[in-house]
Symmetry: C2
Subunit: 538 residues, 2 copies
Amino acid sequence: MKIALCQINPTVGAIGRNRDKISEWYQKAIDVGADLVVFPELVIIGYPPQDLLLREDFILEANEALSWLAANATVPMIIGNAFRENGNLYNCAFVCGNGRIINYYKKMLLPTYDVFDEVRYFSPGETTGVIEIEIESEKIKIGLQICEDLWDKDYACNITDSLKENGAQLMINISASPYRADRLTDRQTLIETKVSETGLSFFYCNLVGAQDELIFDGQSLAYDGGGKLIGQGKAFKEDLIIVDLDHPKPIITKPDVREEKIYNALVLGVRDYFQKTGHSEAVLGLSGGIDSSLTACIAVDALGAENIHGVSMPSQYSSDHSMDDAEILAHNLGVEYRSIPIETIVGQFGDVLTESFSGTESGVAEENIQARIRGSLLMALSNKFNWLVLSTGNKTELAMGYCTLYGDMNGGLAVISDLSKTDVYALSRWVNTKAGIDRIPINSIEKPPSAELAPDQVDPFDYDVVSPLVTAMVEDEKSPTELIEEGADPELVKDISRRIRINEYKRRQAAPGLRVTSKAFGIGRRVPIVNKFDELIP
Amino acid sequence: MKIALCQINPTVGAIGRNRDKISEWYQKAIDVGADLVVFPELVIIGYPPQDLLLREDFILEANEALSWLAANATVPMIIGNAFRENGNLYNCAFVCGNGRIINYYKKMLLPTYDVFDEVRYFSPGETTGVIEIEIESEKIKIGLQICEDLWDKDYACNITDSLKENGAQLMINISASPYRADRLTDRQTLIETKVSETGLSFFYCNLVGAQDELIFDGQSLAYDGGGKLIGQGKAFKEDLIIVDLDHPKPIITKPDVREEKIYNALVLGVRDYFQKTGHSEAVLGLSGGIDSSLTACIAVDALGAENIHGVSMPSQYSSDHSMDDAEILAHNLGVEYRSIPIETIVGQFGDVLTESFSGTESGVAEENIQARIRGSLLMALSNKFNWLVLSTGNKTELAMGYCTLYGDMNGGLAVISDLSKTDVYALSRWVNTKAGIDRIPINSIEKPPSAELAPDQVDPFDYDVVSPLVTAMVEDEKSPTELIEEGADPELVKDISRRIRINEYKRRQAAPGLRVTSKAFGIGRRVPIVNKFDELIP
């Protein structure tokens, strides 16, 4: 029996086009001899559809698409869709074949944490999904599960065991599981455990493609009943994985290079955001610093150098090396480059504010004016030429509030906002190593980071110390007390904790940022702005 | 028996201060002879605490505060707090007295829709809360419920009936129920039904105060077993409602004036956002238009005229009447007023962009530059003087995307972003009627709305038609097809529907806006940016 996993990239809400894509891949799978064709979770509507699920017209249109696919199905197909029954909405896996819907399973475990809100929309199914299908006149009982059903550790029931107990002969899990660093290993470890517990082969079909902040990595998996890996989908690309269960061929995969995976995730994130929102060209400010340099590389690899516009916007505080580094980068990457000096505009702001500011010392207000002029210039180019602005801030800065709202935070998409400063360096070095040449000028990597908004300014943080502490607090969700007990400097921990808390208001207005860690700023982290909880300051 | 409802205003996360406030109000209630003192839902930590609930140190500190309150309790007290038991977190009502926790009830119905995410944090309780307490050596069985437990229409179980069946002799509901227009009537109608079904007296203690986007209105309620209203808390103010159940006195309330309620809600929203984030002064752009005029009035009533700074920022396209109207408004309200002309800065932007823009026609890019200069000037004043910027856009504009991101959308708080243009007019007229003089210049109300970003520009919408259609789509969640069936212009409906969809990206970066309707843009409406669902364009 040949099973095909169709790891495809739908678009949220594009029901008609998703249906056509499914139909096309279904045919491809049949053409290579598939006896059973599997698609990911909610693939007809895209994931996560969020509040579109509250619209009855949306559910109806999804149902019509499913009916059409079922009516045109010959060999069995398993496909995810939303379905209303007795007033409740369910996240379902439909089995179609012979021109009809044969059966369906309603997802039992509904993730409602981090970026997931499934209980907001769906009711849980109450019975496990052992569904019998006929393949070449032989009947086989399939144990159907949907995404979270596999991750049953924190739930009262063990879905996989229960499927086995109810007679399942092989497991199929259809997923929309977002990427984050090391997620593949998590999935492999878990599935290998399930296979060793049940002795059943296991097919895991994951979505690919990006949706707002989320990046789905594909990397579908197939294991035989002995726990051998017999199929794996590409990372960050659509793929058709076909596995012959009667003659399985074990495959060997190369170990992941962490930086490569994260980088490729971001490339897909940028490409899909542009394609799916109907943009093709990007504009970004090039400061000569490492953040904008890495962002530019990712943009070039996602959209092509010919679609990237780099803008240097020097002020009186910009150093010569910054302008040089920005120009060298643009040259290395082959992107269009222009310089728009902002000194005269800064001067005019100073003039009109003379009376209001008289008697005050120059400080943050004056610095931010420069950042906001730059942000406004990028938006002017964006408005004029329909280029989408990429913002270039990293996660460490965003945590600390070391960024200007309506200034350098401007953008339709924040490309590296889920990368710590440490990871920005690691990925930049990887970019150069991978290319075999310095795409990113070595000076941008080695010089001390500076916002260059005041004379001889350098960033007021030791990133080697601050960046890991921010990661520990945000991603590992460690409390300040824990970190101090582990030996971190108490005053520094207090300061970082306070900054993370009081800068929530900036992040609330930040551009959507591509998520590549277990806890990104954005929809998966919901912290109030008005928040007086400070463990260390009673 | 005298029951006291303490309708107080805690701050999210300020556990120590909330505990002290509770203690103080508890004493006040005892001083006026209360035999039972009731506080709102989750009052020790504030509502909604969002992801603070995921922090173990937060839950621990809340428990310590509860223990302290219990240890110091004499007469019985009912109080809301989060509580972990066997690894699960519950939203609980604790009954304390005689120096200890006597008993507790775990909320059964957990709202997970619109602005609510309770399943993200809490497990549901499984048994109804009939709790016996002793008052003046008499035992009484109280039917305890928490907020959503009352709104059981869409759930499988009827909590109120079940409490009665289990022997409850009076009902107490502790709530954190956010305001929206006409919410009081919804609550009254529902409670009156429950009272008439059970014949039991009903005490409803609601939170008051604002938290980020949400405004809690108080307006606690008490009914005797015959369905007569015997107590009602003030709207938008802390209040101690004391009701003698042995000698209940029916009260008569005045019918609501819709505009007054909404206006007062917004006043509280502004005041609490400032107080709870540690700000006292506000700055806003005064264009002479109705939106900024109404926002200024609200700000003055919330913070005092002496704390409001109005800024006119005329360009070459600003009409004389606009500048006059802005100045008259500032004079009427008694707020500080300054004018900062932006023409020279606009000119400099034009100069530095000459090469980039050469050969293009003037349009949105040039218009937005003006809005962004204004936004940057307000932020400069904000950064310099620690004034918080108020943004002044209304809901109709925000829906249609008729606003400039990083321009007039700038602000720490969006005051009227949940008011339709129709409501902006209604409230402005009410403001003047109420004052008996024109606080808002009549010209601002009567002239055609204009952004004044281009020569002789007026807003390209007939708000009398567009505003109700936007409300129908966003608040009443009507589909375009339904609206067309009801007689709306199909082309206009398509255009509005499309604009609402494609401008999601702007709203994602908008300032938090005060919610006063059943469906506001913000945390209660989660629509993807990448969204190709367009019912009318297959």
